[in-house]
Amino acid sequence: MDKEYVGFAALPNQLHRKSVKKGFDFTLMVAGESGLGKSTLINSLFLTNLYEDRQMPEASARLTQTLTIERRGVEIEEGGVKVKLTLVDTPGFGDSVDCSDCWLPVVHFIEEQFEQYLRDESGLNRKNIQDSRVHCCLYFVSPFGRGLRPLDVAFLRAVHEKVNIIPVIGKADALMPKETQALKQKIRDQLKEEEINIYQFPECDSDEDEDFKRQDAEMKESIPFAVVGSCEVVKDGGSRPVRGRRYTWGTVEVENPQHCDFLNLRRMLVQTHLQDLKEVTHDLLYEGYRARCLQSLARPGARDRASRSKLSRQSATEIPLPMLPLAETEKLIREKDEELRRMQEMLEKMQAQMQQSRAQDEESDAL
């Protein structure tokens, strides 16, 4: 008998329509020292001038500058698909002479977003949850050094379990091709050595065509991406206007795969893996945060305290979510409890010993 046509093959189309209607939102964080071309790259990536008329502070002003978090939101549209893009910038990172703990505001910011989402998710009215969690962090490494610096390692260590990290080599037109390869390899080795988890591209399905697989493999091999950004349009030799940087000795074309990995980055970030980044953030990183948070809430000491507190009385919207510092005090209390128990045991042992020795003395006296 002929298989009759049921019609659920149209599901993907329905999904497509719905998602177009809903629109997408994406939060991208850029981090790295000043002067590595972050803003120019963002402008090139999204072909829009997000950073207009920026005022760069003087060196003397940056001597003791602390890191600030800046958020810029923009709505861009292409082919009927709307994207609400939020850019999180970290000006001041690595600027001052003493950069100790300068990454803490960033960590705090990322966790704040998670906390906000946790609150919203646990609330009663969940209709309009705004997802402000950071989905991806582009970390810019300097091309002028010999790999990751201690500050880079410290920052990546602090955030790698909390956000998808994509390392990027900025201003890659400072490197000749073999220097680029050497630097990439060095960074990969350092990341492995320091056990930093960067964003892992998912394996492509076995039924994808060869071309796609090849592209995918190429892309994975070129991490960290060596990028060049430009907002200028120049005419190359073939009189075709391209985005590039014009030097006396030649012109670097931003979208030329022989010159830099810009195309790969754009393809990965925008065309193929944007949704995956969001999913990993939600399924892996956010769940990890949530588990850690609630676990510390469910500790024995904390449970008593929590039950004694408003948890039972009030509605779920006002769960006193433990801030991470509270988890620290819980840990301290637990440790102290254990110590007390240990000391008690020791005391009992000593008492038993004393009794034993006393009995022995009496025996010897009796003889």
Partner: protein, 432 residues
């Protein structure tokens, strides 16, 4: 080193004209010949972050391969590495020392980064000062290790100086001739370069950083120095690799989009740096180091030690008198210290004696106590022993008594059985 001798101003010098050729116009040549036979000495300090191109630039400047191991970013602090080389060009010998800052800019906390550099520079000045103050000195033979030029490598961010650059240059500008250069300048496009350079210069000026001024007082070099100064800071590119350009090999960096030639003045300022640093102003750099920076150091150091040029009556001090005064002061202090130490020593000895006496007393008391307890115990043991003996005796007695009873009982028993036996036997006899 030529020293300027001040002339008393009230003496009028008459200008005489010569009627023939005397020949003292060969004086400069004599000087040159002498210096050439002695050889020259030049010390460069390179300050810049790891990987910025210090070693490559030195190789390019002096057209040779100075061997060095590239440093990693994991240095815990800044340290200075000095290497000396002997170079020769035509008949001129140069003793070149290159000092590198290893680990500069790598630490997370860079507050103390400038300190090792300042200490090194001061140490070289100190060594020279010590040599100068010696009684038997050999300055003409002395290997001058003072830094003549400091090349400060600025990272090509395109914005401005980094805060570390500002702090470090301010600490160094009164101690050494600073020549700021923009490293890896092939990252900066032409239109951005001009803006970057003027931003850097204005930041240096507004923060009062004194960089080395190319001398414009001497007419032969004034023009070239003036034109070159406009291009400060020099944007340089270094390379030891050669690429074929046209039909020649030239030092260059080959990119997919073009080739940057190191010695092409349209591409970078390397040629200008080489001119300024080596070909035109090397001797002036050495002179400035000696007459300005070293003199400043010497003055500060000697003032610290208490030397003055004029005493309160405005009569010039002779160094000798000051020395004598200082020496006596020093000896007096030494004696005072000796006295103090001696007194302290005596006091300590007394204290120790007292302590020891106390300890001795305590020990005696303990000994007595122990002895008494020992005696008590001994008595107790003896008492117990006596008791034990008594009990043993009692026991023996009881035993003896018991044995006696037993033997009596046995005897009685034996008699009884004998009677029983007889009784047993007799009935047999009776019945018959």
């Amino acid at each position: 080193m030529a020293v300027a001798v001040g002339r008393p101003s009230n003496e009028e010098l008459r200008n005489l004209s010569l009627s023939g050729h005397v020949g003292f116009d060969s004086l400069p040549d004599q000087l040159v010949n002498k210096s050439t036979s002695q050889g020259f000495c030049f010390n460069i300090l390179c300050v810049g972050e790891t990987g910025i191109g210090k070693s490559t630039l030195m190789d390019t400047l002096f057209n040779t391969k100075f061997e060095s191991d590239p440093a990693t970013h994991n240095e815990p602090g800044v340290r200075l590495k000095a290497r000396s080389y002997e170079l020769q060009e035509s008949n001129v010998r140069l003793k070149l020392t290159i000092v590198d800052t290893v680990g500069f800019g790598d630490q997370i906390n860079k507050d103390d980064s400038y300190k090792p550099i300042v200490e090194y520079i001061d140490a070289q000045f100190e060594a020279y000062l010590q040599e100068e103050l010696k009684i038997k000195r050999s300055l003409f033979n002395y290997h001058d290790t003072r830094i003549h030029a400091c090349l400060y490598f600025i990272a090509p961010t395109g914005h401005s100086l980094k805060s570390l650059d500002l702090v470090t240059m301010k600490k160094l500008d009164s101690k050494v001739n600073i020549i700021p250069i923009i490293a890896k300048a092939d990252t900066i496009a032409k239109n951005e370069l001009h803006k970057f350079k003027s931003k850097i210069m204005s930041e240096l000026v507004s923060n009062g950083v004194q960089i080395y001024q190319f001398p414009t007082d001497e007419e032969t070099v004034a023009e070239i120095n003036a034109t070159m100064s406009v291009h400060l800071p020099f944007a340089v590119v270094g390379s030891t690799e050669e690429v074929k350009i046209g039909n020649k090999m030239a030092k260059a960096r080959q990119y997919p989009w073009g080739v940057v030639q190191v010695e092409n003045e349209n591409h970078c300022d390397f040629v200008k740096l080489r001119e300024m640093l080596i070909r035109v102003n090397m001797e002036d750099l050495r002179e400035q180091t000696h007459t300005r920076h070293y003199e400043l150091y010497r003055r500060c150091k000697l003032e610290e030690m208490g030397f003055k040029d004029t005493d309160p009556d405005s009569k010039p001090f002779s160094l000798q008198e000051t020395y004598e005064a200082k020496r006596n002061e020093f000896l007096g202090e030494l004696q005072k210290k000796e006295e103090e130490m001696r007194q302290m020593f005596v006091m300590r000895v007394k204290e120790k004696e007292a302590e020891l006496k106390e300890a001795e007393k305590e020990l005696h008391e303990k000994f007595d106590l122990l002895k008494r307890t020992h005696q008590d115990e001994k008595k107790k043991v003896e008492d117990k022993k006596k008791e034990l003996e008594e009990e043993v005796n009692n026991f023996q007695k009881k035993k003896a008594a018991a044995q006696l009873l037993q033997s009596q009982a046995q005897q009685a028993g034996a008699q009884q059985t004998k009677k029983d036996k007889d009784k047993k036997n007799s009935p047999w006899l009776c019945t018959e």
